[in-house]
């Protein structure tokens, strides 16, 4: 017992010593810049949020390795203040209020997900604190009052609907099967996609919805197989995207254009599905082949986390950090100046230039990615593509 106790005491003492030494090492340099955010560590978004948090951590590490965040002429180390919002948007709103009023953080980064961004926006507005958003996508974001929140994404449902119909038409698709998970993002895309397909004269031969807790798609996919459309558009989520691919392979669905909404660019997807993932088209506007910054981001991310970044969420999150960094460099920490700098500036990111109009990034183009021989390539639109689209000829 006494030995155990003394081991325990030693552990506690060394933990304290370590904490003290960390503290003094920080105190020796410039005063850290404290950046606050809430993150979904638990709850329904928890499996999606690491792609965002990893990007933040990578950015912090790189900034600190460069000597700190440049504020005017001074460089200050970056320190995070983060809380678990339990995937609860209401909780996130309270956390941002606490971050601003009690923790008195210097800057903010965004939480994960559309409902969370929408819940946090009024707090930013009321307390006049600017924040660059990232992992949110809905045409409803445009209804938010511009001024304190901006979104790096181009994957907004109305733009996705229009571009997808255009891509299908260009590739000679005459008929599609449309399978929609009844969650908000996919339903919203469906709402914009249907009229876009109609005006592109593309027939919807199967149009079915399914619940998020679907466990088997055999009956649904048998209908698709019988209809034999040129394309299958699965407006799916990470939990059911692999189910679609697995069962489409099992039934031998022959459509050459296979679109799967969310999942294909997450690290586990090709690992789980192997060659069946090849040729799948998905939504996305970034790839490591975009520019030198993008390649460097991808390589350092893979080296640090031993997995690939999420092509949408990780890149969007990293872009929001880059934008914040560049805005702070010119405007400093004064919130009003920072707000103007973000709203009016033009930023260089891992996805090329970004400029905002209202809350929206109007430079980045809405596009699509395709898994080709295990690599993710941008195949639409042509102006930013890194490879040509290839029809999916086998599972």
């Amino acid at each position: 017992m006494s030995i155990r106790r003394s081991i325990f005491n030693t552990v506690i003492a060394s933990a304290f010593a370590l904490a003290l030494s960390l503290d003094t090492s920080l105190a020796q340099g410039a005063k850290p810049v404290r950046i606050g955010f809430s993150i979904a560590k638990t709850g329904i978004f928890a499996s999606a949020a690491p792609s965002q948090l990893n990007a933040y951590e990578l950015w912090r590490e790189q900034v600190n390795a460069r000597g700190g965040l440049e504020i005017g002429k001074e460089k200050r180390p970056v320190e995070f203040v983060q809380y678990d919002d339990q995937s609860n948007p209401g909780q996130a709103a309270k956390i941002y209020e606490k971050l601003i009023t009690q923790d008195k953080v210097d800057l903010l980064l965004a939480p994960w997900g559309t409902p969370t961004h929408i819940a946090v926006a009024p707090v930013l507005e009321r307390l006049k604190f600017p924040m660059v958003g990232n992992t949110a996508a809905s045409s409803k974001l445009r209804e938010l009052k511009p001024g304190y929140i901006w979104f790096t994404t181009a994957a907004i449902p109305d733009r996705i609907g229009k571009e997808l119909a255009a891509m299908l038409k260009e590739n000679g698709v005459k008929s599609v099967a449309l399978l929609t998970n009844v969650l908000p993002f996919s339903k919203e895309i469906k709402g914009f996609l249907e009229p876009a397909l109609k005006s592109a004269a593309i027939a919807i031969s199967v149009n079915e919805e399914y619940p998020p807790d679907v466990k088997d798609m055999t009956a649904l996919l048998t209908k698709v197989k019988q209809a034999n459309p040129d394309a299958v558009l699965a407006l799916s989520y990470p939990s059911d995207s692999p189910l679609y691919v697995r069962q489409a392979k099992e039934l031998g669905i022959g459509a050459k254009f296979q679109f799967v909404l969310i999942g294909p660019t997450i690290d586990f997807f090709p690992k789980l599905l192997g060659s069946a993932a090849n040729g799948i088209v998905t939504v996305g506007e970034w790839s490591p082949a975009r520019n030198a910054r993008a390649k460097a981001f991808y390589d350092t991310y893979v080296a640090k986390f031993k997995e690939k970044p999420d092509y949408l969420d990780s890149s969007l999150s990293f872009m929001s950090c880059e934008i914040l960094e560049q805005a702070v460099k010119t405007a400093g920490l004064d919130r009003s100046k920072l707000r103007t700098a973000i709203a009016q500036g033009r930023f260089e990111t891992i996805n090329g230039a970004v400029k905002f109009k209202g809350v929206e990034n109007t430079v980045t183009k809405t596009g699509f990615l395709q898994i080709q021989d295990g690599e993710v390539q941008q195949v639409w639109p042509a102006s930013v593509s890194t490879a040509k689209y290839r029809p999916k000829t086998s599972w």
Partner: protein, 297 residues
């Protein structure tokens, strides 16, 4: 439409679903049947089984069908620990009664949250997956991937093995006795403590095996367990709490309902059909399909 319904494809899908439901529900039913403990952390054992299998495959290249035994043993040991450290005292002090059910519900709920968050801390919440036996096999006009077929066969075999064990093995018979009538079992000399321990071990072990089988076709993540807990509860309540064969029959009935019901209506009706039937059945037969009406003791 008739072609679809008559094809073996839907039947295979229904059996594959049913077998998973049956195996997941089996352990829950066993623990409830012998001790009246409501294990709402049951789905988290499925998750742990999935992770053990994933890591064995990812780090050691061990085939899931080989690591299955180790997974089962590891989970069974966890069951032994949980019983010894957490539940024995509770059961010993107050026997079985409504209070044990309520307390166990809370205790397991707490455990579930702890296990999920520990898993998120240790494994990270990022989903993981590996490819195994994913080639499509054809039997007549039925196409199926090897991993689904393997999962179906292993799950069905394990369910059958447990049924036979309960029918023919002395310990199995003692478990049944405990489920039928606890006090009478004690009177005729059944070692209740030992049987309860064994039920925990078998219950936890089979759940982890279910997780191992699920991981061959689906991604694993720390929060994947809860839907399995819900499915298992639906199955065992429908089959009659503590009625093992009843639970298995209910599991396959649900598998059939889910695939054929959806084929006849629309995929969007899946949850309405399943839970609607569940509620309707409970109204008509509160004791479940195979349960007997409660008697005064």
């Amino acid at each position: 439409m008739i072609d679809t319904l008559a094809s073996g494809q839907l039947l295979f899908a229904a059996l594959a679903l049913g077998a998973t439901y049956a195996l997941v529900a089996l352990g829950l039913n066993l623990v409830y049947g012998t001790m009246r403990l409501l294990n709402v952390a049951h789905g988290d054992l499925v998750m742990l089984g999935g992770y053990i299998t994933y890591w064995a495959f990812a780090l050691g290249g061990v085939s899931p069908l080989v690591s299955l035994l180790g997974t089962a043993v590891a989970a069974a040991l966890l069951g032994v620990l949980a019983y010894r450290l957490l539940f024995r005292a509770m059961l010993g002090a107050r026997g079985t009664g409504p209070r044990v059910e309520a307390n166990s519900l809370l205790l397991f709920f707490g455990l579930s949250i702890v296990v999920q968050n520990l898993a998120a801390l240790i494994f990270s919440p990022t989903p993981r997956g590996y490819e195994y036996l994913s080639d499509v096999l054809h039997f007549g006009n039925v196409a199926l991937t090897g991993n689904r077929l393997a999962a179906l066969l292993v799950a069905a075999a394990l369910c059958l093995a447990v049924v036979l064990f309960l029918r023919w093995h002395t310990m199995g018979l003692a478990m049944r006795a405990l489920m039928e009538h606890r006090e009478a079992a004690a009177v005729v000399g059944v070692d209740i403590d030992r049987i309860q321990l064994a039920s925990f071990a078998v219950g936890f072990g089979t759940a982890a095996v279910a997780g191992a089988l699920v991981s061959m076709t689906e991604q694993v993540s720390p929060f994947m367990g809860f839907p399995f807990t819900v499915a298992a509860f639906v199955v065992i309540v429908m089959g009659g709490l503590g009625r093992l064969e009843g639970g298995m029959a209910a599991a396959f009935a649900l598998g059939l309902l889910e695939t054929y019901g959806v084929a006849l209506t629309s995929t969007n009706w899946r949850s309405i059909l399943l839970y609607g039937t569940f509620v309707a059945l409970l109204l008509a037969r509160p004791q479940g399909l195979f349960g007997r009406p409660a008697v005064m003791r």
